[in-house]
Structure formats: structure tokens, C-alpha cells
């Protein structure tokens, strides 16, 4: 039987399984649903399917297991490591239609919903109930809770609220054999054996398909203020962080370099927020009731010369504007097609790790502009190397391959992680061994084989 007729048969079988309207094979859909925000890969899936209930997902997995058909789960496709990319005839399982908010339980403070509900919908639902879902990031309008679970999404409030993992009270997962696991069921305390829920969180779809999620909601935080502080060095920023953590209720502690601020001001025409130019800036968000403590903090760090100037928001609009200096960086520097790296270390080692990377890249390629920014309160920094205008993209890309190896070596030396929050996907497979030992990798493979004995769940992601 020819390849083409096998494909045709499969598509017919999928139509029988889910209904013709829930199977898409037109080129535009294949391209649209077959990729995420990475854009480095050419999507080439077999088809896109839209299960409308959990039983549909189970039936799909059983069919895929019988026919050795690889499955790629697909949520909001806002990932940055090609975890949801289908490049090799896979079936993309799009969870858009599992999008109902099923149950809100005010006693337990939990919300149970389908995997296809967007993060933004959960935030709005919580707000209507006078509550708060604290995981937040730029793509919350499109990203889906199932994808948040699969990638253990972080974002901008991690200092205070942690990553998605902290907020998942229960999970329903379809494994690679089509079995449905009902994990943790909303419990606060549950020491009955291994917590498989936490294996699934961050597994990038390689263990199973998340079909239903129960999240915890909390009381909304008090109104906040934002302070932007000019700091002379990375060690100074760490000192400020140390002092701030003991005196303020921090929601966020971010930083960016002067080069990053330069690019933002140049592109937007905005005035620099502080008068004094400084190599680094720290952005602190804290509860407004801490405003006096924040002034004392500034006085204390300024007297040590860890900060040379600072401004504080007096309204929500100003707080948003100060955040915009940080949040616009990524989009604005995309003009220089940067090599990007999302790395972390324990906070105490960050200054030395950054200096080591600056030194090693600067020595080999002094013409490369390096832009640093990130969630320093979580030990997570984003390294961006900008392409010099004069250099062609091919050569730049080759040199970035080298840079990538050097950076990974430095990260290993400092005991850090080559992927702090973006996951591994396809994009970072080659650097995974810099953060994970052969023994760990062997256990990971074993875990995958337990969940997915036929190797059909998002194969080729994280490791081959």
C-alpha cells in the first residue's frame, strides 16, 4: 500500500472517530496549528484534530498506539522552544474544544476546567468571583491552561507566587496507552505514593495529554507600586534584592541592562525614566502599603552606593509604564535577530555567571552587542546577543552555535539550568546534557517508557 493511501485511510479513520468537522487537513490549518512562536521549523503534520471530550482524546490515543502514529498536543502555541511543533507527519491534537469551565468550588478555592481554557479566561473568572489566579505573562490571552501545565509556565510574578506547578490542585491526563489518570483530585495533602501530577507538569506533552486541570485561586493582592532603580553593577543588584526581600512584600524583582533600556527608548521615543544613567536597572513591584519601607530601602542601598537614583510609580498608569520599559525589550530587540538564551542559577552565583559569559563572548566577538534582562528574583536571566548589522545571518548563526556551547559550559560550571522557564522542546535538546546528568536522563527515559510505552506522545521533544 502506498504512503499516500495509508495517509488517506488514517484521515478517514480519524473522521469516523471524531466527525469530519473535527479533522482539518488544509494547508493553512496544517501550518497554523503545526507550530508555536519559535518559527525556526517548517510544520508538516498529517492532520489537525479537535477532540470535543475526554473520551475523544482516549479514542485518539488508542488509535494512534495501534497505528504507531505520533501525537503532538497543541494548546495556545505560545511556547518558545518548539515543544508544540509538528515537523514529521504527526497528528496535532488541538485542545481548543475542551474549553469549558466546569466547576468553581468556593470552599476549596479551586476551579476545574478543560485543558483548552485560556489563562486569561481563568484570570477573568477568578476576578469575577473576587479571587485571583496569579500566574501571569504576556501571552496569557492566548496560552491555554493545559499548555501551561505541560510547560510549567512561569512569568512575571514568580517571586511571589511561584510557577504554574504551585497552583495545580488536580490533573486529568490521558497516557500513551489511552488510560485516564485522575491525579491528586484537588487535595491539599496527599502523600499516597509518588505524586505523578508533578511528573506531568513540565513534561512538554511527552508523558501524556493533559485534558482537565483544577487550579487553586487566592485572594487578590493589595494594590501595588513599582520602583525602578539605577544600579551600578550586578553585585549591587543582588544586594538590593537581598535587602528588598527582607523589608518588602515583593511581587516581582526584574532587571535589565542599560543597553536594553537604550534600545527601548530609541524605538519608542520614551523619555528615560531616571535621570542618572547606569549600567543596570532593577524593577521592583511590591504592595503599596510598603511604600514607606521602599523609601527606607532606597535610603539604605543608596548610602552603600548600590543604587544611584530611583523613581516610584504614583498611579497604576505609571506602574504600567515602568513595566513597559521591561516588557517591550524582547519585541524591540527582535529587530537584531538575537541569539537568545533562557538560563538560571542560584541567585548568589548570578553576577559571576553573567560576568563569565560577558567575558567569554566579548573576547571572541567584541563586535557583538549583549543585552541582558530577566527575572533576577528567580535567578532567571535572558541573554540576548544582537546581530551586528554588517554581519550576514548565516555567519552570525554559525557563531551563535559556538556561543551556545560556551554559554552552556559556563552554566554547567555554575550548576545552573540551560532552560529556566521555556522548556527544552526541539530547540534546546542539544544543550540538555549540560544541565542533566546521564543518570538523570536514563531515569527520564524510563519514566517516559512507563507513561508512553509505544513512544507516540510528542516524540523527539526534550530528548530523542
Amino acid at each position: 500500500m502506498s504512503h499516500q493511501s495509508t495517509q488517506q485511510q488514517r484521515i478517514e479513520a480519524l473522521r469516523d472517530l471524531l466527525g469530519a468537522a473535527n479533522v482539518l487537513i488544509d494547508q493553512q490549518s496544517l501550518t497554523h496549528f503545526g507550530t508555536d512562536w519559535t518559527r525556526y521549523y517548517t510544520p508538516a503534520p498529517l492532520a489537525i484534530v479537535f477532540p470535543t471530550c475526554i473520551a475523544d482524546v482516549q479514542a485518539l490515543v488508542i488509535y494512534a498506539a495501534e497505528h504507531s502514529l505520533a501525537l503532538v498536543p497543541s494548546g495556545g502555541r505560545t511556547g518558545l522552544s518548539a515543544g508544540a511543533v509538528a515537523t514529521d507527519g504527526e497528528l496535532v491534537v488541538c485542545l481548543d474544544k475542551l474549553n469549558t469551565i466546569d466547576a468553581f468550588n468556593p470552599v476549596d478555592g479551586t476551579l476545574r476546567c478543560g485543558a483548552g481554557v485560556t489563562t486569561g479566561e481563568i484570570q477573568s473568572f477568578a476576578e469575577r468571583e473576587g479571587l485571583y489566579y496569579p500566574v501571569d505573562f504576556a501571552s496569557s490571552g492566548s496560552s491555554q491552561i493545559g499548555g501551561n501545565v505541560a510547560t510549567n509556565a512561569g512569568g512575571i510574578k514568580v517571586v511571589r507566587y511561584g510557577m504554574t506547578r504551585e497552583w495545580i490542585a488536580g490533573l486529568k491526563v490521558v497516557t500513551g496507552t489511552g488510560e485516564l489518570l485522575d491525579l491528586n483530585r484537588g487535595l491539599v495533602k496527599n502523600n499516597a505514593g509518588y505524586d505523578l501530577r508533578h511528573l506531568v507538569i513540565g513534561s512538554e506533552g511527552t508523558l501524556g495529554i493533559v485534558v482537565e486541570v483544577t487550579v487553586r485561586l487566592v485572594n487578590p493582592p493589595a494594590p501595588h507600586s513599582v520602583m525602578l532603580m539605577a544600579c551600578p553593577s550586578m553585585p549591587a543588584i543582588i544586594e538590593v534584592l537581598k535587602a528588598a526581600r527582607s523589608t518588602l512584600t515583593l511581587n516581582a524583582f526584574e532587571f535589565f541592562s542599560d543597553k536594553a533600556l537604550d534600545k527601548v527608548c530609541e524605538a519608542t521615543g520614551w523619555q528615560r525614566p531616571v535621570q542618572v544613567e547606569s549600567p543596570f536597572y532593577a524593577l521592583l513591584e511590591f504592595e503599596q502599603s510598603d511604600a514607606d519601607a521602599a523609601q527606607n530601602l532606597y535610603a539604605a542601598v543608596a548610602s552603600q552606593h548600590w543604587a544611584s537614583d530611583a523613581v516610584m510609580s504614583q498611579s497604576i498608569g505609571q506602574a504600567q509604564q515602568l513595566w513597559a520599559f521591561r516588557e517591550r525589550i524582547s519585541e524591540i530587540i527582535s529587530h537584531w535577530v538575537p541569539y537568545k538564551s533562557d538560563i538560571s542559577s542560584v541567585i548568589s552565583k548570578l553576577p559571576d555567571m553573567l560576568a563569565a559569559i560577558d567575558e567569554i563572548v566579548g573576547r571572541a566577538y567584541p563586535e557583538f552587542e549583549i543585552v541582558w534582562f530577566g527575572h533576577i528574583g528567580d535567578g532567571n536571566v535572558h541573554l540576548n546577543v544582537l546581530k551586528p548589522e554588517a554581519l550576514d545571518i548565516q555567519t552570525f548563526s554559525e557563531r551563535c552555535g559556538e556561543v551556545n556551547t560556551w554559554v552552556s559550559e559556563v552554566v554547567r560550571e555554575y550548576g545552573g539550568s540551560v532552560s529556566a522557564e521555556h522548556g527544552i522542546g526541539l530547540l534546546k535538546k542539544s544543550v540538555l546534557p549540560y544541565s542533566v546528568s546521564p543518570a538523570e536522563l536514563a531515569i527520564m527515559r524510563g519514566i517516559k517508557a512507563s507513561f508512553d510505552p509505544h513512544g507516540i506522545m510528542n516524540p523527539g521533544k526534550i530528548f530523542d
Binding site: 494594590p223 530611583a310 523613581v311 504600567q320
Partner: protein, 249 residues
């Protein structure tokens, strides 16, 4: 030249306001309060006059309970020299505010009074004009640009279809529009200095004003929720719905 700037404490303009459950008022519990955006622009303009050497002293005045001292301190952090609070309870109507400000004007004798064109809570757009009438000072409302020339003040106003420029004799009153300037951020060193700047508190009686009310707030309710949209299958169906259901064609 002395400049008096009025600042009001209001619900921050980015807050999605809710009505209280009993419909008596807007719910202010756990809500961010800020300086009224137009007042912030007024403060910035006064501070720029001082930085340019035109003004010698900038005084920020606010009317309200003790909490409004926070907004006076903000004005002081932005560069005002001293503050005045006129202590009142509950909400005060524009006419009372104008009378109280007139009392402050008589005490301080400023050459220029800058106010926001309106506050974003009541949206009355009355105080500046009423103060003009009560003090018999010339007024330039909705200013997008001002320039001092000796004892004259040139005020460019945003009017329908263009700009109008007035020349006023000082002392004068200006109300600020959105495009007059872009306010600065308060720097930490200035926020700390602001704590040490003088802030005088007056009662309405000190200014010879009796606080009266002419209005009673009957109820506050949120706007009707928007109905969800629907998808139509064909142009004919769309036309039918527009004609027979929406009755717009």
C-alpha cells in the same frame, strides 16, 4: 511669582470600578487611589514654571480627609514647595470646593492658580470656572500650552476644530487639558525630601466657609452587561436580523 495648584485624590483611572452591593456608592475597599490625572498635569506645569525661573514658589492644596495628604506628598515629591490640606469629611460638591479654594487664594495671594480641567470621579468640570467667578479672576480653561510674559499669561486652549489663544491679566486661573505636558516620575530622593516639606491643615471654618450639600446620591449601579454576539450563516440572515431584530436598517 507664587503658583497655587489644586490636587484631588480619586480612584486610579486604571481601576475597574465596582458598585457596592447595596448600590449606595462606588466600592472603594482595597482600591488604588491616586492623584487625579489632570491635577498631576497641573502640578507638572507649575513645577516647570519654577524650574524655568518664572515661578518662585509652588503650593499644592487638596481638600478632603487625612488620606488626601498622600496626594499632597506626591505633589511635593514632584517639586511643589509646600502643601495645604483643607480637612473635610465625605464628598464635597464643586461649589464648596471652589469656595474653599477662594479662601486659600485670599490667604496666599498667588499670581496663578492651576487646576485640572475636571476630576475623573465626578467628571463635573466646574471647580475652575466657579473659582473664576467667585474670585473675579480671568480664566483660561482646557489649556494645552501656557506662557508667562510679564504680568500677562498666554493660554492656548483646545477647542472644537482647533486651538484658541487667550491673553489673560494675572492673577489668573488655568485649567489643564491632557496635552499640556507629560508628568515626570517622582524620584526616590524627592519623595524623601517631600516628607520634610511643610504641610498646613485648615478647617473650612478657618477659611470662613460653611460646607453645605445640594445633592443627594440616590444610587450607583454598573452599566448593563453587553449581550454576547452571534455568528450568522449567510448575508441574507444578517440582513434579516439587522432589519427585524436590531431594527437598524
Amino acid at each position: 511669582m507664587k503658583v497655587l495648584v489644586a490636587v484631588k485624590r480619586v480612584v486610579d483611572y486604571n481601576v475597574k470600578v465596582r458598585a457596592k452591593a447595596d448600590g449606595s456608592d462606588v466600592d472603594l475597599n482595597n482600591v488604588k487611589m491616586s492623584i487625579n490625572p489632570f491635577c498631576e498635569i497641573a502640578v507638572e506645569e507649575a513645577v516647570r514654571l519654577k524650574e524655568a525661573g518664572t515661578a518662585t514658589e509652588v503650593i499644592a492644596v487638596s481638600i478632603g480627609d487625612k488620606a488626601c495628604q498622600e496626594q499632597i506628598r506626591t505633589a511635593l515629591a514632584l517639586g511643589a514647595d509646600r502643601g495645604i490640606q483643607v480637612e473635610t469629611e465625605g464628598s464635597v460638591e464643586p461649589l464648596v470646593v471652589a469656595k474653599l479654594l477662594k479662601g486659600v487664594v485670599e490667604k496666599e495671594q498667588p499670581q496663578l492658580v492651576i487646576l485640572g480641567k475636571q476630576s475623573i470621579d465626578g467628571d463635573n468640570n466646574q471647580t475652575g470656572q466657579m473659582l473664576g467667578a467667585l474670585t473675579n479672576m480671568p480664566q483660561g480653561t482646557f489649556a494645552s500650552e501656557i506662557a508667562v510674559d510679564g504680568d500677562k499669561l498666554s493660554v492656548t486652549r483646545e477647542v472644537d476644530g482647533g486651538l484658541q489663544t487667550l491673553s489673560l491679566n494675572m492673577p489668573a486661573i488655568v485649567t489643564s487639558d491632557l496635552r499640556l505636558n507629560e508628568p515626570r516620575y517622582a524620584s526616590l530622593p524627592n519623595i524623601m525630601k517631600a516628607k520634610k516639606k511643610p504641610l498646613d491643615v485648615y478647617s473650612p471654618a478657618d477659611l470662613g466657609v460653611e460646607v453645605t450639600t445640594h445633592l443627594t446620591q440616590v444610587s450607583v449601579e454598573p452599566p448593563a452587561e453587553r449581550q454576547a454576539g452571534i455568528k450568522v450563516e449567510s448575508v441574507d440572515e444578517l440582513v434579516d436580523k439587522l432589519k427585524n431584530e436590531a431594527k437598524v436598517i
